[in-house]
């Protein structure tokens, strides 16, 4: 698989996995962080550096998977703003 395809697959998997984080704040942060990191690293040409970043992303993907499990084991209520969308819009 070319590195480009590999990177895109990783990016999609990371975002998909981050979407499952139950905590609103962690979920939002993960999505933002993944997007910004991939965007910032888009122009890297050095193959060694690419390999390092890909390995890093793989590690983070595993990490997010573990944290999704832990997060679902000890859930808390949703935040006000997560509920808000279904409630009256004026408050």
């Amino acid at each position: 698989m070319s590195t480009r395809r590999q990177a895109i697959t990783l990016y999609r998997n990371l975002l998909r996995e981050a979407e499952k984080l139950p905590s609103y704040n962690f979920r939002m942060y993960a999505a933002r962080k993944i997007r910004d990191t991939f965007r910032a690293n888009r122009t890297i040409n050095d193959f060694e550096e690419i390999d390092r970043q890909v390995a890093n992303a793989k590690q983070n993907l595993d990490l997010i998977r573990r944290q999704v499990i832990i997060g679902h084991l000890y859930t808390a209520d949703k935040l006000v703003i997560e509920h808000k969308k279904t409630l009256r819009p004026d408050c």
């Binding site: 984080l21 905590s23 609103y24 704040n25 962690f26 939002m28 942060y29 933002r32 962080k33 910004d36 990490l63 997010i64 573990r66 944290q67 832990i70 997060g71 808390a76 209520d77 949703k78 935040l79 006000v80 703003i81 997560e82 509920h83 808000k84 409630l87 408050c91």
Partner: protein
């Protein structure tokens, strides 16, 4: 308080309807039609209900905007800690078996990660239970060790309670302590500091970033001054490490306190940096097995040490990324609030500050009532340690804030995990409730009429 208000209101309403009914009955014989009274009663009710927030019930947990009190633990930190909370349970000081070796290695890695963040040598880092303990060890330890020759300590009035209380304890032991006042922007006056240092002085303790108003002290300049005058310089950097660049060598810091749970690490762990060259000596507070160079006896909690190490490593990697985000959110919040509300005062220097700590005073609004109204946002009027008391913050009093403004201050703490949505929600709620509370306030009415509140002589009955 809301309950009381609601009850009062219902009483008012009830008596008014009774009154109306009574009048109606009396005048029923005359030609006046009854609906007129019903209308006024309705109007009256509408006016009363306008301020009522009893039915503003919100579902869900409050948003968290109190990053100065504590921060949520980063999932990446938890991930690093998990093995040491489960299978790798050894005592890091056990030298005779593999359980000890593996945890010792992890603890040393954590030490290295902290050292890297602040530009120190790993040997100079001591694990403690938190910044409070670090501050105690630093202030009391140095003062007592050099106490036979030097009996003077300098600190500022805006320090955290644990530094001030340690100094109070030293005073009881016969030391002289100078509590330097700060300027109106919250920053210490270097000339005044220089004038206060005497040959008797052993330690200067000034915090890097204030926990209530977010003001950054000129640590580099203070460090230079202290080095030139051969006085040890301790700084409480619990709110600064990992958020702004700190380098102990460039800033000539001799001792520095670090907290784990303010940098998205675990609670119950902190670190103290103690310089080795030139050597800073201190008298340990805790006696025991002589761990941590004999300065802090007691088994190092391996999972927590790993956690604070991982948090420090992350903070180092993401300092710029986090700073950009926090700056962006902080500006957004400030702009949104100040563009909608007049008479909002920012406490502390607007330039020399950590933007994640935004302390605003809403004039003519009582801070506690605002906090109560904003119950779906976790906020604080000052430090968590003093949030149980209704006294205005001593930090705000030290920077010369008027009593009424000090009572109306709220601290917004923004961090790595705060979102735009949260900031917007908080700002909108804040604006709504400040307007509501001001409309209820007779003081606000007087201000609208152009009366200067300060000129009023309040008589006491």
């Amino acid at each position: 308080m809301q309950k009381i208000f609601g009850r009062l209101q219902s009483r008012v309403l009830r008596s008014s309807t009774n009154g109306a009914a009574f009048i109606i009955r009396q005048e029923s014989s005359s030609a006046t039609p009854a609906p007129k009274f019903a209308a006024t009663s309705k109007e009256f009710r509408a006016r009363q209900v306008r301020f009522n927030i009893k039915n503003d019930h919100m579902q869900g947990r409050p948003l968290y905007l109190d990053a100065q009190a504590t921060t949520p633990m980063d999932p990446r930190v938890l991930d690093a800690m998990m093995p040491f909370l489960t299978n790798l349970f050894g005592n890091p000081h056990s030298r005779t078996h593999a359980y000890g070796w593996e945890t010792e290695q992890a603890v040393e890695k954590g030490r290295e990660q902290i050292a890297q963040l602040i530009g120190a040598d790993p040997k100079e880092i001591i694990f403690t239970s938190g910044a409070t303990e670090s501050n105690n060890i630093a202030v009391k330890g140095v003062a007592r060790f050099y106490g036979t020759k030097k009996k003077h300590v300098i600190t500022t009035q805006t320090e955290h309670k644990c530094v001030l209380d340690s100094c109070r304890a030293l005073e009881n032991e016969g030391y002289k302590v100078t509590y330097l006042p700060v300027q109106e922007n919250g920053i210490v006056d270097l000339k005044q500091l220089e004038a206060t240092i005497t040959p008797e002085t052993s330690l200067v303790s000034i915090m890097t970033v204030n926990n209530e108003i977010g003001v950054k002290q000129p640590v580099k300049e203070i460090g230079e001054l202290c080095r030139a005058r051969k006085v040890f310089f301790h700084t409480d950097a619990a709110q600064a490490v990992g958020k702004i660049p700190v380098d102990v060598n460039a800033m000539n810091i001799d001792l520095m306190s670090i907290s784990g749970h303010k940098i998205y690490g675990p609670k119950g762990v902190g670190a103290l940096y103690v310089r080795r060259r030139p050597r800073v000596r201190l008298e340990p507070i805790q006696s025991g097995g002589g761990q941590e160079r004999g300065l802090r006896s007691g088994t190092v909690p391996a999972p927590l040490a790993v956690g604070i190490g991982a948090a420090a490593e992350l903070a180092r990697q993401e300092m710029d990324y986090d700073k950009k985000w926090v700056d962006f959110l902080s500006n957004r919040l400030l702009k949104r609030i100040t563009s909608a509300l007049p008479h909002v005062i920012r406490n502390g220097d607007p330039e020399q500050t950590y933007s994640g700590c935004l302390n605003l005073s809403f004039a003519y609004v009582e801070g506690e009532s605002l906090l109560m109204a904003l119950k779906d946002v976790a906020l604080s009027s000052g430090s968590a340690c003093t949030s149980a008391s209704l006294e205005p913050s001593y930090v705000l009093r030290a920077i010369g804030t008027d009593e009424d403004l000090a009572h109306s201050s709220i601290r917004f703490g923004i961090g790595r995990f705060t979102t735009v949505e949260e900031v917007d929600y908080t700002a909108d709620k804040c604006i709504k409730h400040v307007e509501r509370l001001r409309e209820m306030s007779p003081l606000w009415e007087m201000v609208q009429e152009g009366i200067d509140i300060k000129t009023i002589q309040w008589s006491q009955h």
